[in-house]
Symmetry: C2
Subunit: 141 residues, 2 copies
DNA sequence: AATAAGAATGATAACGATTCTCAAAGATAA
DNA sequence: TTATCTTTGAGAATCGTTATCATTCTTATT
């Protein structure tokens, strides 16, 4: 039996793997991110991280998010209104539907759209470095 | 022969048509927007408007841009990095390619992509209210 | 385990883009 | 022309985020 939680070990390993120095704050924040199945902003992540590691400051949350982003561990999204929101990098690329009434975020993926994007760019003499596709939607009921 | 410029008359008419009160500042800003073939931000629009009407303040530029947006006269875009950028509402809807090296903005339009978006949303029980599609690209040479 | 060197941290100031406040000036309709 | 209501300029305030800096912590090396 170890004194360290399973999550701590996992996050430590993940940080080392990404070549990022391991600190209590980073373990806490990465744990929070791994647990989140929504797309929280920095302030929300700060709230959650404080429950695990009360000393984390908002400045460190922002700094760590940038570090994790550079390390390819998280993605930053700048949806309309409010600040940036984050999610851990998982399997395949996806885009987002945003429910304009509830603020809920749904992920989707379409090879067809990706192909069309490449095609359009190519025809204009460009290649796509990255893109942003957000559908602001309302539930049809 | 009129003492008023042709542009002034046109902008005045456009404002009245949109049900927006006519002021010197608004005429100037709308004239600048109509002339712009790029996608300037508020500060840039302020610079240009001051050449026509030196008294315009940045606050009024922001206020007027919101009014014009509500009136459907201009569109506001929040591209990555920096502040919002604006363009007059012209003919058909379009999306944007952004040259990541030069900052240049190219417009494009694809019915196919629009259709696919609607389809994807529909399948998930949503209808698209509006969307954001930006391709961050590099010239292939 | 002790250490040295560099990196990360918390607190808070600073920042850029945008909005708000409020008294003064202006536009519109009667 | 007047009365009413809107818009304006100047600057303060706000929001999300980044920078500063002295202190604390990680890490690699003993």
């Amino acid at each position: 039996m170890s004194g360290e939680s399973d999550t701590t070990e996992k996050m430590t390993a993940a940080l080392r793997k990404a070549g990022i120095r391991v600190t209590r704050q980073r373990i806490a924040l990465l744990g929070v991110l791994a647990d989140a199945d929504d797309h929280p902003d920095a302030v929300e992540l700060h709230e959650r991280a404080k429950l695990i590691e009360p000393s984390v400051s908002l400045a460190t949350v922002y700094r760590t998010l940038s570090v994790l982003e550079e390390g390819g561990v998280v993605h930053r999204h700048a949806f309309q209104g409010g600040g940036a929101r984050f999610e851990t990098t998982h399997e395949e690329h996806h885009d987002h539907i945003l429910d304009v009434d509830t603020g809920e975020v749904i992920e989707f993926q379409s090879d067809k759209i990706e192909q069309l994007q490449d095609e359009i760019a190519r025809d204009l003499g460009y290649e796509v470095v990255h893109h942003r596709l957000e559908l602001y939607c309302r539930k049809t009921r």
